[in-house]
Amino acid sequence: MSGKYAADVDLARRCAAGDEAAWERFVLEYRPLLYRAADAIEPGGGARELADALYADLYGLTQRAGERRSLFRYFQGRSSLATWLRAVLAQRYVDRVRERRRFEPLPDDEERRADHRSGTTADPDSTRLVALMEQAVEASVAELDSRDRLRLGCYYVQELTLAETGRVLKEHEATASRQLARTRTAIRESVERRLRQSGLNDSQVADCFAAAASDSGRLDLTRMVSGTERKESAVDRSK
C-alpha cells in the first residue's frame, strides 16, 4: 500500500467495517465529488443513478454469510480514493453503454438493402483493391507501438477530440495532433511498401488509394454498421 494514500485507505477500511462516523465523513467529502464526475460523464444526469447505486455497494447493502460486503474492500490505495471512485463509476458507465448497445435494434432490412444498393460499388476489381488496402492498413497498425495504437484508438474508435485524446495520453493537444499526423504518415508509407511487396507497381498502388478514396459505399456501410456505436459513444467528440 502506498503511504501517499494511507489516509484514504484508512477511511475506506473504516467505512467497510461499518464505522458510521467514517461513512458520514465519506458522504460529506465524496458525494459531491462523485456527482460531479457523474455529471461530467453524462451531462444529462444519466450517470447519477449509477453514482447512487455505487453508494449502495460502497455501504455494503448486500451480505454474504451474514457479513456485510462493501465495495471498499477492493480499494487498495494504489490511487487516491477519489480517483478510484471515478474509475469505478467510469467502468460501470461504459459497461452500461455496451449492454444497451447489445440490445439496440438493427436498421430495417429494406433500409439496409437500399444503403447497400446505393453504396456498394459493383466493380469487383475495386473491391479487391480496397480489400488489399484494408489488409495493409491493419498490418501497418499492428506493427505500431502500443502508445501510438492507443492514441489512434482514442481518436478514431472513441472519437475523442484532440484535446481529450491528449488528456488520456497525458500529453498536450498539439502533441497529440503532431503524433497522430506522424502516425498516419508512417501508416501510409507502410501501406505503400506492403502493397509493393505484394507485387503491385506504383500505378496499381495509386489505384488502390484511389479505390479506397472513392469507396464511399463501403465506408458508408462501415459507418452504418458502427452507426449505433458512434451514437452511443461514451464521449462526444464535439465537446
Binding site: R36, C154, E164, V168, R188
Partner: protein, 374 residues
C-alpha cells in the same frame, strides 16, 4: 492539385476509422483493466512496466479505451472544479502575487483614506515650537488578519476609566505635563531610546517572520493603520524626530508589533488583548472601554500575539513560549520542539498558526500545537 501524399494521408485517415473499429471489437489479449489499475494509471501510480502493459492492452481493447476516455473526462471536470475553488494551488508559481496584491491594495487604502490631523508633540520648552508629525504605521508588518499595535503602558486606573481611543490623548497630555520636568523627561527619553534600539532588532526578525507567513489582508492593514495612529502616537514622543525619516518610521512600525504592551486585535475589533509585563495579558471585549487582566501561567513577558477570532488568541514569547486561548479567558501552554525566543505569530484559527523565531525561522502547526512543521 494537392500533394499526392496528402491525398493518400486523407485516404488513410478515412480507412483508419473503419479498420480500427473492426480491430477493436476483437477480444484483446489479457484481462480488462480493473478499477484499481485504471485509477492507478490515472494517478500516475504505475511503474513503467505496468503502464506499458496497461497501454498495450488498452490499445486493442475498445472497452478499456472507453473506460480511459470516460475516466479522463471525469478527471478533467474534477481538475477544472479544483481550479475554480483553489486558483492559488493551480498556479503555485504565482502564489507570491497574493501578498503583493494585498500590500498594493493596502497602499491604495492608505492613500485613499484621509490622513488624521498631524499630532504635535512638545518635548520641552525649547522644542515647544517644533512640531513633528509621526507618520502612521505603514502597511507591511502584520502577519495575519489580527494585527499588533503598541499602546502606551498605562496605569490600571487610567485604563479602566478612559476608553482605548482616548489613550493617545491622555498620553500626550501626560507627556506635555512632564515637559515641565526636564529631569524626568530626560530619563523617559533615555528609556525610550533604549527600547527603540531593542525593538529595532526585533523588528528585523519580525519582518522575516511576517514574510514567511505571507497572509496579509487589506482590512487588517487598514485597521492597523487606524489603530496605530490612535494608539502609538504619544508613546513615541522621544523618538519623534527620528521617526520623521522613512527608515525610522519603519523601525517604529515594526517595533510596535512585539513590544510589551502590544495590543492584539481580533477579527472583531471589539475583542483585543494587550500584553503586559510579567507574562500576563489584558483582554477587552468592548473595544477597550474595560480591560480584564488574565494570568497566562507564563512568567516571562510575552512578545507578540495573533487573534484570528474574538475568542481565539495565540501568544508567543521568550524561551519557546506559546500560549493559546480558545475561550478568551483561559490559557494553555503549547509545547514547541525547539527552545528559542519567539518574536512573532500568525494564526488563522484555533488549530493553525505559524510562529517566528528571533533568527527568522518559522514553525507551523495545523493541529493546535500537537505537531509542528518547518
Amino acid at each position: 492539385m494537392n500533394n499526392p501524399n496528402e491525398d493518400r494521408d486523407t485516404t488513410i485517415d478515412h480507412l483508419l476509422g473503419s479498420t480500427l473499429k473492426r480491430g477493436a471489437r476483437a477480444d484483446p489479449a489479457g484481462a480488462c483493466l480493473d478499477a484499481e489499475t485504471l485509477a492507478a494509471w490515472a494517478d500516475d501510480g504505475l511503474d513503467r512496466q505496468e503502464r506499458a502493459a496497461v497501454e498495450a492492452h488498452a490499445a486493442g481493447c475498445e472497452r478499456c479505451q472507453a473506460m480511459m476516455a470516460t475516466l479522463s473526462r471525469a478527471e478533467h471536470a474534477h481538475a477544472a472544479a479544483t481550479v475554480v475553488n483553489r486558483p492559488a494551488r493551480r498556479f503555485p508559481a504565482l502564489a507570491w502575487l497574493i501578498p503583493v496584491t494585498a500590500i498594493a491594495a493596502a497602499m491604495l487604502v492608505w492613500i485613499a483614506v484621509p490622513q488624521r490631523a498631524p499630532t504635535v508633540l512638545h518635548e520641552d520648552p525649547a522644542q515647544a515650537a517644533t512640531a513633528v508629525t509621526i507618520p502612521p504605521a505603514a502597511p507591511a508588518a502584520p502577519s495575519s488578519a489580527a494585527e499588533a499595535v503598541t499602546p502606551p503602558a498605562e496605569p490600571e486606573a487610567v485604563q479602566k476609566n478612559s476608553p482605548q481611543r482616548e489613550a493617545g490623548r491622555s498620553q500626550l497630555e501626560s507627556s506635555n505635563a512632564r515637559a515641565d520636568q526636564p529631569e524626568a523627561l530626560e530619563k523617559q527619553r533615555d528609556d525610550l531610546r533604549a527600547k527603540d534600539a531593542q525593538l529595532a532588532d526585533r523588528s528585523a526578525a519580525l519582518t522575516s517572520g511576517a514574510a514567511a507567513t505571507g497572509s496579509v489582508t487589506a482590512d487588517a492593514l487598514a485597521s492597523n493603520k487606524a489603530t496605530t495612529a490612535n494608539e502609538t502616537v504619544a508613546q513615541k514622543s522621544a523618538a519623534a524626530p527620528a521617526a520623521a525619516s522613512p527608515a525610522a518610521a519603519r523601525s517604529l512600525r515594526n517595533a510596535t508589533a512585539s513590544a510589551p504592551g502590544t495590543t492584539i486585535v481580533s477579527s472583531n475589533p471589539g475583542s483585543r488583548w494587550r500584553i503586559v509585563p510579567g507574562g500576563a495579558v489584558q483582554h477587552t471585549a468592548d473595544g477597550g472601554s474595560t480591560w480584564e487582566t488574565q494570568q497566562t501561567g507564563s512568567t516571562v513577558t510575552l512578545a507578540a500575539g495573533s487573534s484570528p477570532s474574538p475568542s481565539v488568541c495565540w501568544l508567543v514569547g521568550p524561551v519557546a513560549t506559546v500560549l493559546l486561548s480558545t475561550d478568551a479567558r483561559t490559557w494553555r501552554r503549547i509545547a514547541l520542539p525547539e527552545q528559542a525566543d519567539l518574536v512573532g505569530v500568525s494564526a488563522t484559527d484555533d488549530r493553525t498558526a505559524t510562529v517566528s523565531f528571533a533568527d527568522g525561522r518559522t514553525l507551523t502547526t495545523t493541529d493546535a500545537g500537537v505537531s509542528w512543521q518547518r
